[in-house]
């Protein structure tokens, strides 16, 4: 019983060989067929599909996307699968010159959406967060920043770190204000 049920080594070889040949047959024969098919319906490339893919993968090249779409017969799912699978897209041959939409139309098309997302300052500014409003105006009273030092005392360390943070924010703010003043002086 067990002799009949188990597969011996030559049988495994045969199965592997047949499997390999089948795989190769599908693989090599599907490629030219794909090209032939796509040449036939090359004209019906849907711009909406291209846009959809570009929105999903803005990092990809439009021409490569169009080439892949054309080759798989306009299947967004297949192209998505291919990109997500990490296989990347093929570089289209130079003879492939699809009609690219003018750049300005796509960017103005994207603008309303982007602008709608924009206004939502969800975080308080640093001055509010660190209660620095009392120290903002008194630019004269600011001593040179303390030398970075490690204290053995835990509380002292905490205070030093806090002080360094505040110094950094106030210094940035002062610099920005100076730049503003210089800019205003320059234009006036």
């Amino acid at each position: 019983m067990s002799d009949q049920g188990s597969i011996n080594i030559p049988q495994i070889f045969v199965i592997l060989l047949v499997g390999f040949l089948l795989y190769r047959w599908f693989f090599t024969s599907s490629d030219p067929a794909g090209i032939r098919q796509s040449r036939q319906n090359g004209a019906r490339l849907n711009p909406a599909q291209v846009e959809q893919l570009l929105q999903m993968f803005p990092q990809l090249d439009r021409r490569q996307l169009m080439w892949d779409l054309q080759r798989n017969g306009g299947s967004v799912a297949a192209t998505t699968e291919r990109v997500l699978g990490g296989r990347g897209l093929e570089v289209p041959p130079p003879s492939f010159q699809p009609q690219l939409p003018p750049l300005s139309s796509t960017s103005t098309g994207a603008r309303p959406g982007a602008a709608a997302v924009k206004p939502k300052p969800s975080h308080p500014d640093l001055i509010t967060r660190y209660n620095l409003s009392s120290k903002v105006g008194s630019s004269a009273s600011i001593e040179p920043s303390p030398k970075p030092a490690w204290s053995q005392n835990k509380n002292e360390r905490q205070q030093l770190l806090q002080r360094r943070r505040e110094e950094m924010i106030l210094a940035a703010r002062r610099k920005m204000e100076e730049r503003d003043r210089a800019g205003a002086g320059g234009t006036a």
């Binding site: 990092q59 500014d125 970075p148």
Partner: protein, 166 residues
């Protein structure tokens, strides 16, 4: 046991960052009672629209640090292709080797115990200057950075000023 290794290492890194802080970076635990949560301040790199800004971020360390990397989240409004709209930073040094969802990162760029908080913060600083177009975390920002650079820079500058209360 693992926790004590992690806190010792974090404490050493804290001391090092205090004694010898890199230019434009201040970092340390929010309170030493919990050394696994840090706050970092990063200055915007010069010559970029982030110049002049100070960007706060929160670092959360896992209990098995440094085997696993911390997570980093900006706690300010930051408009950048590699920062998610909720502030989470997407950068290869914060990804443990093994989980590479995008198949483009070299193992050497990713997290390993020989990296450090200092290296993370320096990497993030240079990420601000040079966004990585390959892994957009904020698609809108990535698109704007690529196609409408002027608008992108204006928006970043606005955030910088707002962050300083101006």
């Amino acid at each position: 046991m693992a926790t004590s290794v992690a806190s010792k290492r974090l404490f050493t890194e804290y001391r090092h960052l205090t004694n010898d802080p890199p230019q434009g970076i201040t970092a340390g635990p929010v309170t030493e009672d919990d050394i696994f949560i840090w706050e970092a301040l990063i200055e915007g790199p010069e010559g970029t629209p982030f110049e002049g800004g100070v960007f706060p971020a929160e670092l959360k360390f896992p209990k098995d640090y440094p085997l696993a990397p911390p997570t980093m989240k900006f706690t300010c409004d930051i408009w950048h292709p590699n920062v998610y709209p909720n502030g989470n930073v997407c950068i290869s040094i914060l990804h443990a080797p093994g989980d590479d969802p995008n198949h483009y990162e070299h193992a050497s760029e990713r997290w390993s115990p020989i990296q450090s908080v200092e290296k993370i913060l320096i990497s993030v600083m240079s990420m601000l200057a040079e966004p990585n177009d390959e892994s957009p975390a904020n698609i809108d920002a990535a698109k704007m950075w690529r196609e409408r650079r002027g608008e992108y820079e204006r928006r970043v500058r606005e955030n910088v000023r707002r962050g300083l209360g101006l």
